[in-house]
Symmetry: C2
């Protein structure tokens, strides 16, 4: 039961944090969703800071693996880029959720320093993947480039995160699609 409970807490924390932000979830919320008491959550994660760090580490690993899978599975640059966009679309969950990195970013003042470091690492990782994908799209001619790959990567991540934010605020997935059109039409 021990290891199971710990991941149940993490699953619950990720869900609520991505829906409500860092300041928007509490141990009481987790306790109710997991079905144990607040004190038991503290047994697994002594502080909220520790929980948030573990959450970001797990999220980083998951996304890194997802991108590795995309790059080895999809053959063309455009197909890889569309797959990454699909990833952000599904993370939106119909406008009810955000990427954990986006969800945490507005709460900088209340975040433990470790989590800010994790956020930085996460965006660096995503930009590295996107740069690689834009390079592939340039090489195989399946993406129409407007700037060089590093520039495209930085803009691409900001675009996806900003599109998520608008769609989440109004629980309207169409706002995500509207913002992504310009990028997607450049993929053959």
């Amino acid at each position: 039961m021990s290891t199971d409970t710990k991941s149940a807490v993490l699953d619950s924390a990720e869900r609520i944090a991505r829906a409500c932000g860092f300041d928007g979830f509490s141990y009481a919320d987790l306790a109710e969703e997991v079905g144990i008491r607040k004190a038991s959550i503290h047994h697994h994660f002594p502080t909220k800071a520790a929980l948030a760090v573990t959450l970001m580490q797990r999220y980083h690993k998951t996304l890194d693996e997802a991108c590795t899978h995309i790059v080895v599975t999809e053959v063309s640059g455009s197909a890889q880029l569309r797959a990454v966009v699909d990833q952000y679309r599904s993370a939106l969950d119909g406008g009810k959720s955000l990427c954990l990195c986006v969800a945490f970013s507005t709460s900088r003042e209340s975040l433990p320093a470790d989590v800010i470091t994790q956020i930085s690492r996460f965006r660096t990782m995503m930009i590295t993947w996107l740069k690689e994908i834009f390079e592939a799209g340039k090489a195989d001619g399946t993406i129409t480039l407007v700037g060089d790959p590093p520039m495209e990567a930085a803009a691409g991540l900001a675009l996806m995160e900003g599109a998520q934010l608008a769609a989440r605020a109004e629980e309207t997935p169409a706002l995500f699609e509207n913002a992504m059109q310009l990028l997607l039409q450049r993929c053959s």
Copy 2:
């Protein structure tokens, strides 16, 4: 800046809300910054919901007027677009602040319904201005368009908001610049 207490409270609330988000600021914070007691804040704004609505209304008006000024002052489409980007850059305040709309968006679950309506109106307004600006840039040939103006407008807003978010999370304004390069290089 503010002659009366009510606008002093609004100024303070806007500053802290843009730095910390909706769940990240309290009446105690405002009271300390303005130099009066919490109960006095409640005299001007009975609830936090009422304060947030007033805040968004004022912010909407300010930005709408700023865009009007930009469009009548700057002659070319590219100059207008650069001026809007300047607006978002200065709203960042060196990585210490966000656009109020961005700052509120991740806290959807705790926001009063009125504020969500205001957020929707705000983004619609900004997209309308951007569409007009991209149309001007297309007509005078000072912006290289990648899609039609409505598409460019939706992507442009998401890009600026996403770029702010990353720069704010790490208090690193360069991250905003990195994400904006691709757009700015399309302006003559």
